[in-house]
């Protein structure tokens, strides 16, 4: 990020930037940077908080009026909580309980099917979905991913890209499908990212499938598949906590 600012500025384009990792910005010293104390993935602070987002945006843009630099300014406001109270979130949807002896694929596909009503509702209410990078349908992704664990590795349905990259896109698409579906449901409060993570990784068949895929791929002889398994399916903090 700071390197991009350096290259653009040296071509004569004035830049300003939001910084999430202050340490990196201190090292690179781009011309103008606003450090924000927000969670990774949330550079403007909070979703559906237009006034707060505008404050962040203006604070970053105003740095363009500085007379000399490099400038690093700190944005010292925490994002709004979105009406959260102290109540812990619990998934309001009873997912099918898999039984001992059930085939993993069947349990996985049943879970995906059960979420479809809620996913479709979320799509209608929000008017958008972030699912779609793999261009595969959720049920197709389920069968595709489970195939690797069932000892029946599927072929590559999108041969224009390497299989490990397609698997990566497919895992993110299906996780977004789960997250968008479950946050469309009525509940006492909207889950935090940590609560949704706990739900996905600890309570869903998908979480078990992803963990198993991560273990399987990390033993691969193929370099890209090995990297996929080691760091691109299970978040590093969750992987570390399971060691």
């Amino acid at each position: 990020m700071g390197a991009l600012a350096h290259y653009l500025e040296s071509e004569g384009l004035p830049t300003t930037q939001i910084s999430l990792i202050r340490l990196h910005t201190e090292k690179i010293q781009p011309p103008r940077a606003l450090w924000v104390p927000f969670e990774l993935g949330r550079p403007l602070g909070a979703p559906n908080a237009p006034e707060f987002q505008t404050r962040v945006l203006m604070a970053a843009l105003r740095l363009l009026d500085a007379s000399a630099g490099p400038v690093i300014e700190d944005f010292d406001q925490d994002p709004p909580e979105g009406g959260r109270d102290a109540t812990a979130w619990a998934c309001p949807l009873p997912l099918p309980q898999s039984q001992e002896g059930d085939r993993l694929t069947e349990a996985f596909l049943a879970e995906i099917d059960q979420l479809s009503t809620w996913y479709n509702l979320a799509l209608r209410e929000r008017g958008r979905t972030t699912v779609g990078t793999s261009r595969m349908e959720p049920r197709g992704i389920g069968a595709f991913l489970a195939g690797f664990l069932e000892g029946d590795p599927p072929g590559n349905p999108r041969p224009e890209m390497a299989l490990p990259w397609l698997i990566k896109l497919a895992t993110e698409d299906l996780k977004a499908y789960y997250q968008e579906a479950v946050t469309a449901q009525p509940g006492r409060c909207f889950p935090t990212g940590a609560e949704l993570d706990d739900w996905f990784w600890d309570q869903t068949v998908a979480g078990r499938v992803y963990t198993a895929l991560s273990r399987l791929f990390s033993k691969s002889e193929d370099f890209e598949t090995k990297i996929l398994g080691k760091v691109l399916i299970v978040p590093s903090a969750r992987a570390a906590s399971r060691k």
Binding site: M1, A3, L4, A5, H6, Y7, L8, E9, E11, G12, L13, P14, T15, T16, I18, S19, L20, I21, L23, I28, Q29, P31, V36, P37, E39, L40, G41, R42, P43, L44, G45, A46, P47, P50, Q53, T54, L57, A60, L61, L64, D65, G69, R128, T130, G132, S134, M161, A162, W165, K168, E172, Q179, T183, V231, L232, V234, P235, S236, A237, A240
Partner: protein
């Protein structure tokens, strides 16, 4: 939170060790007051149009995002699994604040909004970004941009 001291040890350790480029020069480009500047967004969130190619390599390439894009047509294929995506699912402005920027232009706080915005995928090696960034500078100048807001994820 993006405060290193509050992060889990595994993430903190990785982010502390990430190699950062060192530059011997400190370029500084001046421009008119903010209210007269034409602003472009450049994200490193691996964003692209739904009908564009996803990022499937760490090569420093970028994608073009027209100002006319609708929120339902912008998706993300960043390779990292270690940042929140739930906020982006709820509101694209959290990562790509185009609605907010358009509001500022209507209010006169900024001079205008570029016709085109861009996204890289931030996991790329900074050295790989140099050539595409210099190409991008020419495109931004053609678009009469004199303020670039870089947004990480």
């Amino acid at each position: 939170m993006a405060r290193l001291e509050l992060m889990p040890e595994s993430e903190r350790s990785y982010l502390t060790r990430v190699a950062c480029p060192e530059f011997s020069t400190r370029p500084w480009a001046a421009g008119p007051p903010l209210a007269k500047r034409r602003v472009a967004l450049v994200s490193t969130a691996g964003l692209h149009r739904r009908d564009d190619s996803p990022f499937t390599g760490i090569s420093g390439e970028y994608r073009v995002i027209p100002s006319s894009i609708l929120d339902r047509d912008l998706i993300m294929s960043h390779v990292s699994v270690n940042f929140d995506r739930i906020g982006f699912q709820q509101d694209w402005n959290l990562v790509f604040p185009l609605d907010r920027l358009n509001e500022l232009a209507r209010e006169g706080a900024v001079g205008g909004v570029a016709d085109f915005h861009y996204s890289f995928m931030g996991a790329a090696d900074p050295a790989q970004l140099e050539a595409p960034a210099r190409d991008l500078a020419a495109l931004l100048k053609q678009d009469r941009v004199d303020a670039v807001l870089l947004i990480p994820v």
